[in-house]
């Protein structure tokens, strides 16, 4: 269990952000339209985040804002970013759309037209779909964490960091290589399109390629109170591999596997709270559980091809202020921010179109876990997603440890037909 | 003086239900309020019990003002009401209903003896003490309602239309019990549409018309009054 080091309450209430935003908000409520104070003589570039900070989707937004602020502060503290002869301070401008399409449109326009941001980072799904027509016309550089948002009509929408759900394939590939005797698998996932079904289709393709038969795929809603029935029904199929394709309910699902006496292998898309899982089951039970998201203090993330400065330090400073709030998006949004910095420096400009051009011009763009490739035309109709190596993580002795890096790109290039077939089977959009 | 209402006004929204009623009840008295529907009889009882707030006027019971007291405090002072339409708790048993009548009391021994005396008045309730109140007949429910009120050991018992919808023979039975209760020293204020019955039972009577006291006096003299005869006795 990831315990908060000191009293959670003192910290939360003592946070400057809390007071600052409260005052700003009350001020805004009282004197709507009061001009914002800004530092006059420093050049500032604003990066927008149009994300959910309230409601059910907040965990996929807020930690990203926290992470981005850490990275931006680090860059600013180091003297800012030099772009085309100017030095810029980076400022994050965020808007809470609460995963509501209307507010997403409003927030996007506010960020672009009033805050004059040079890039808008978004989560993805319907909130992105609703801004696409306007954003594309405006030629606004927009990023998503769901590459499946990319269509032939979205030239200004890129997914440079998370390649959900493509990265899932490496874990299955690795597992099958290490355990050639695995024959069957079952998949459990949420019944939504963006996360659940995309991920299930990818996993199924990966299993097929690895020669493992998928016996059953269970799609459940977000209203599940108790996973016992679903897990019971899946275990009745006697699978060798139990695969969790979405991350929201991993802990209660693994807990059920543990109690229901499951003996086989477990694969998960993410397992952000794996310490909780261990606390609820046992170290032995989760030993060897495969997933895709490393801890940022993993020794294998130091040096080499990793394109994230000081992951360990980042991890530490995030946990200092936001213990227990870590999720994959905490580093994914900052990672996109870093991609932007790289591209802006290459372009020598902060203008969205120029930055995008520089991004796309780079044949081997920096991806968090090593050099990447632009990909996606075969699946979504446009090469606007960066995919590259992705770590295979497994739990060893109670810690998530990177086992090895594998190329998602290679897998996709070889097996895109199988992937397309599985996507089609689930009525998912493909080019 | 046990109870006195002085110039009591009650309004529902904007409509005046009582327009200055003054009534007096002596200790051990048996008073009846008669009048047609809407004359304010029920409202008078409801106001005494604290279910309605008077907009003007004063209600005193044993030299204490009831005007601003909530129903539970008024009950504790010794004023119990048998509401119109009986209003027994249908999903509770007879015994539970009776115990709720003694809700404000703590003296278990006294409650027990009162329970016995209620069963003495109404032996049929004893037979049915474990049944749900909704299984009782109309007359039995009325008995339960009276018994429940008696369980609070009242000094003053207010009864709102106890004969409503009951067979004459049952009305007769209840009338007898009311006289018995009164003889034991409990003062009674009886609201009755059956003026004949009411004036026969009571010592004194008030005739209410549109929120006012139109006539008052000895029950026997009221029964002889020409106006009362034509208007309420249908003779």
């Amino acid at each position: 269990m990831r315990k908060t080091p000191k009293s959670v309450f003192e910290r939360k209430f003592g946070r400057r952000r809390f007071l600052g935003t409260t005052l700003a908000g009350v001020g805004a409520a009282l004197t709507a339209g009061m001009p914002r104070i800004s530092l006059a003589d420093t050049k500032t570039v604003k990066i927008g985040m149009n994300i959910p900070m309230t409601g059910d989707y907040a965990p996929w937004g807020l930690p990203g804002l926290y992470g981005s602020e850490i990275v931006a502060n680090n860059l600013n503290a180091a003297g800012g970013v030099k772009i085309g002869g100017d030095t810029y301070m980076i400022e994050m401008a965020a808007y809470d759309h609460g995963y509501d399409t209307e507010k997403s449109v409003q927030g996007f326009k506010k960020l672009v037209l009033e805050d004059d941001v040079k890039m808008v980072m978004m989560l993805g799904g319907s909130t992105v779909a609703s801004i696409v027509p306007w954003a594309m016309r405006k030629k606004m550089l927009t990023t998503t964490l769901l590459p499946s948002d990319i269509t032939p009509d979205t030239p200004y929408l890129v997914a440079t960091c998370e390649s959900h759900p493509l990265y899932n394939v490496t874990g299955v590939e690795w597992l099958a290589e290490k355990n050639p005797d695995l024959k069957t698998a079952v998949i459990i996932t949420t019944n939504d399109i963006e996360y659940g079904k995309q991920s299930a289709a990818t996993y199924k393709a990966a299993f097929e390629v690895a020669g493992i038969e998928v016996l059953d795929t269970n799609f459940h809603g977000f209203d599940v109170v108790d996973f016992a029935p679903i897990v019971s029904s899946l275990l009745a199929k006697k699978p060798d591999v139990f695969c969790m394709a979405t991350d929201v309910y991993t802990t209660p699902i693994v807990e059920q596997l543990f109690h229901q006496g499951y003996k086989g292998k477990i694969v998960s898309c993410t397992l952000d709270g794996y310490q909780d899982v261990i606390a609820k089951t046992s170290k032995e039970f989760v030993e060897g559980l495969v997933f895709q998201f490393p801890d940022f203090d993993d020794p294998k993330l130091v040096g080499g091809k990793i394109n994230f400065p000081d992951p360990g330090g980042f991890d530490a400073s995030f946990n200092k202020d936001h213990a227990g709030e870590w999720s994959a998006v905490a580093w994914e949004y900052p990672s996109i921010l870093l991609n932007w910095v790289e591209a802006a420096q290459a372009a020598g400009s902060i203008e969205p179109t120029a930055v995008l051009e520089a991004m796309k011009a780079n044949d081997s763009p920096a991806h968090t876990f090593g050099p990447g490739k632009w990909w996606g035309a075969e699946l979504w109709g446009l090469d606007n997603a960066v995919i590259g190596d992705w770590p295979v993580v497994a739990i060893n002795d109670g810690r998530a440890r990177i086992q090895e890096f594998r190329s998602v790109y290679t897998w996709c290039q070889t097996n895109v037909a199988e992937l397309s077939k599985q996507m089609k089977d689930l009525d998912l959009r493909i080019a | 003086m046990l109870l006195s209402l002085q110039d009591v006004h009650v309004h529902y929204n904007k409509i005046a239900a009582l327009q200055g009623i003054s009534i007096e009840v002596e200790e051990g008295d048996f008073v009846t309020l008669i009048g047609s529907n809407g004359a304010g009889k029920s409202t008078t009882l409801r106001t005494i019990s604290g279910l309605e707030r008077p907009s003007a006027g004063e209600i005193r019971f044993k030299n204490q003002s009831l005007t601003r007291l909530p129903p539970d405090r008024i009950l504790k002072l010794g004023v119990a009401q048998v509401p119109e339409g009986r209003r027994v708790f249908k999903d509770l048993t007879v015994l539970e209903n009776l115990h709720l009548g003694a809700f404000t009391r703590g003296d278990q021994a006294a409650i027990k003896s009162d329970l016995e005396s209620v069963f003495g008045h109404f032996p049929r309730l004893l037979e049915r003490s474990q049944q749900l109140a909704q299984t009782l007949s109309g007359g039995e429910q009325q008995m339960l309602s009276i018994g429940r009120a008696l369980m609070s050991d009242p000094i003053l018992l207010l009864l709102d239309e106890p004969s409503l919808g009951l067979a004459p023979i049952v009305v007769e039975e209840i009338a007898k019990i009311l006289l018995e209760i009164n003889k034991r020293g409990v003062a009674i204020v009886l609201v009755e549409q059956n003026a004949e019955l009411a004036l026969d039972l009571a010592k004194r009577g008030y005739v209410l018309e549109t929120g006012n006291v139109a006539l008052q006096g000895e029950a026997s003299s009221l029964a002889r009054n020409e106006h009362v005869k034509t208007a309420y006795l249908g003779i």
């Binding site: 809390f18 935003t21 409260t22 700003a24 908000g25 009350v26 805004a28 409520a29 709507a32 900070m53 309230t54 409601g55 907040a58 807020l62 965020a94 808007y95 809470d96 995963y99 509501d100 399409t101 209307e102 449109v105 409003q106 927030g107 326009k109 506010k110 037209l113 009033e114 799904g125 319907s126 779909a129 609703s130 696409v132 027509p133 306007w134 016309r137 269509t151 009509d153 019944n191 939504d192 399109i193 963006e194 659940g196 079904k197 809603g221 689930l426 009525d427 | -």
Partner: protein, 320 residues
């Protein structure tokens, strides 16, 4: 009487003109805000027609979704022009509502409230479950905007004019319904349904009528929304959204035609101005709701008359 009407008409015309120039003076994202707010006004006013009969439903926003999906699928998949698919949205929502009358109006009051929620939720789950044609949880995207000459309806101002025109027409119709014989009968059904029946009012028919008409208009509102957003998802029409409609109507006040409108406008602006509070916004919003209910129990609509009364008070002696 005609004098009053004249000044009223003048007032309405002035307001419309004001509304037409308003977006030009707004910040860009507030133009969008204005569009959604105008659509939401149609949502609450049509909901009020439903509440006239005394029944509060939780299915209204789902009927909006029915309209939204109808228009989206007709225009995107079947190539209907938006000018046809939008009215068809109203027809679609009205038809579904007509079907639902049979089970729903066996219930009244609280049972109706929850029953309507269950039916609505079942419809919403069907959108999620049947990926063809509803697109599952991600819904339908790339819904075309309306086309007319060279007008660019992706630009907020022209679209606002379109919304303003449609919503104004709808509001006029709803206002006329409320102030017609039918509105009077709906009131009667609410307050004394047995008395209404005894003078020959078929209360079931009038309850159904109110539900169907409300659904038609909220369906149109749904269509207006999707052709601006370009996509529609089941998520938009969940009970969370419905709760906001309830809040607007109750806090605004439901005794007059304009109460819900006032509620929607004031609370939406409030909500938007609190957005800088980020994740703390709902708490402040919740506190303001409680304050509104405690201090304005008759709704925001009770405020203007009491201000007027306060100003007039010295001139006329108090009544009674």
């Amino acid at each position: 009487m005609s004098k009053v009407q004249l000044s009223q008409i003048a007032g309405i015309v002035a307001m419309l003109v004001g509304l037409m120039v308003l977006p030009n003076y707004l910040k860009y994202h507030h133009q969008d805000f204005l569009i959604f707010l105008t659509i939401n006004i149609l949502v609450v006013v049509s909901y009020r027609l439903m509440t006239l009969t005394g029944e509060w439903s939780l299915i209204h926003i789902v009927m909006m979704g029915v309209g939204a999906y109808t228009s989206a699928l007709l225009s995107k998949n079947l190539g209907f022009p938006v000018w046809i698919s939008m009215p068809m949205a109203g027809v679609g929502a009205g038809l579904i509502a007509a079907l639902l009358c049979f089970p729903l109006f066996r219930m009244t009051q609280f049972y109706f409230l929850i029953g309507s929620f269950a039916v609505g939720e079942a419809i919403r789950l069907a959108w999620i479950f049947f990926v063809k044609p509803f697109g599952g949880s991600s819904g339908v995207s790339s819904i075309p905007p309306p086309e007319l000459f060279a007008i660019d309806f992706m630009d907020p101002i022209p679209y606002f004019y379109l919304v303003l025109a449609v919503v104004t027409v709808c509001l006029v119709i709803l206002y006329r319904i409320e102030n017609s014989r039918i509105g009077l009968t709906l009131h009667a059904v609410h307050w004394k349904s047995s008395l209404s029946e005894s003078v020959g009012v078929n209360t079931w028919k009038y309850r159904s009528l109110a539900f169907i008409v409300a659904s038609v208009f909220v369906g149109i509102a749904g269509a207006l929304k999707v052709h601006y957003l370009g996509n529609v998802t089941p998520h938009q029409f969940g009970v969370g959204t419905m709760v906001f409609v309830l809040i607007w109507v109750i806090v605004g006040g439901y005794n007059t035609f304009f109460g819900p409108v006032l509620g929607a406008i004031v609370l939406s602006i409030l909500d938007e101005s609190l957005r800088d509070l980020e994740e703390y916004r709902p708490a402040i919003y919740g506190a303001l709701l409680i304050a509104a209910i405690m201090f304005m129990p008759k709704g925001l609509e009770s405020v203007p008359p009491s201000i007027r009364a306060w100003f007039k008070a010295p001139a006329t002696p108090p009544p009674g």
